[in-house]
């Protein structure tokens, strides 16, 4: 039990940090997107800790490849509009 609690503390810290990076205006958009991918990665392990393997699997299957691709695809097609 203590291992799992410790893991959840570390994961929660990681999620908050990654979310801060994701919404920080100083970083480039590409980094924001990678950070939101990291949020989804940590959330997926957190779902597993909360005994929800189905949800964890969905988040893993969708968050790792598909969402990132959609974002980067659009980001790669907009020139000049990428930075604000």
């Amino acid at each position: 039990m203590s291992i799992l609690t410790g893991m959840s503390v570390v994961l929660a810290a990681g999620m908050i940090v990654a979310a801060l990076v994701a919404i920080s205006p100083q970083r480039s958009i590409a980094i924001s997107i990678i950070a939101s991918g990291a949020v989804s990665l940590f959330a997926s392990v957190m779902f597993l800790l909360l005994a929800a393997p189905d949800v964890a699997m969905t988040e893993a299957a969708i968050g790792s490849g598909l969402t990132t691709f959609l974002f980067f695809f659009v980001l790669g097609r907009v020139r000049g509009g990428g930075d604000d």
Binding site: D54, M57, A61, I62, G65, F69, L70, R77, R79
Partner: protein, 231 residues
Amino acid sequence: MIKRAIAFALLAGLGLVFLALWQGFEPDPSLNRSALYYAENTVTDTGAANIVAAVIVTYRGLDTLGEVTVLFLTAAIVAMVLRGGLADSGPRPGRWPTGELLHTGSRLLVPLIALFGAYVFLNGHLTPGGGFQGGAIIASAMLLMLLTDPARNFSHRLIATTESVSGLAYVAIGLAGMALAGGFLDNRILPMGEFGSILSAGAIPLIYALIGLKVGAEFSSILLSLSEREK
């Protein structure tokens, strides 16, 4: 500036609500009534080992049908929004060709990813996973092909046919449940089988396979309609 102040006030209010919720939260000591029903009766009702799958496919099957429809609409709208007349910013500069390693690796990995997707949706009633996850994994296989070879021609016909045939079959199974068993999308139109084997839980594996194919086809068509604008 005033907008920012309003935003902060809004978020602060929301934060207070969340704080109150958090402080008042008390995890239940035991299952509530609907969960208790599912926990006690899933095996006799549906024969599925994964209760989440039973909830999605059987107990709330109609919601899932609606949701698959929403996804279908999303795919259609994405295709419509992006159709035609999108002046890309000039002629696209040529890409670096994909490396040989990625080519070979994707030829090796795409079948394995597709097989894993099929495993996930066919075993949805026994292990975590199901149609939605399996569909997403199959769409990931598609994504890998797309990344490897952006100029490749994918068969839109095949994707559209898969999508519509599986959708129709899904509804047909639902209606068959109304005719042969207890109601719309009742899974007992097929024998229950032995608990814990792959051909058990009545029609759940079949329905999940159809959902998986449909979701995979929908995600694939979203990916394709986004990426084919550049040609």
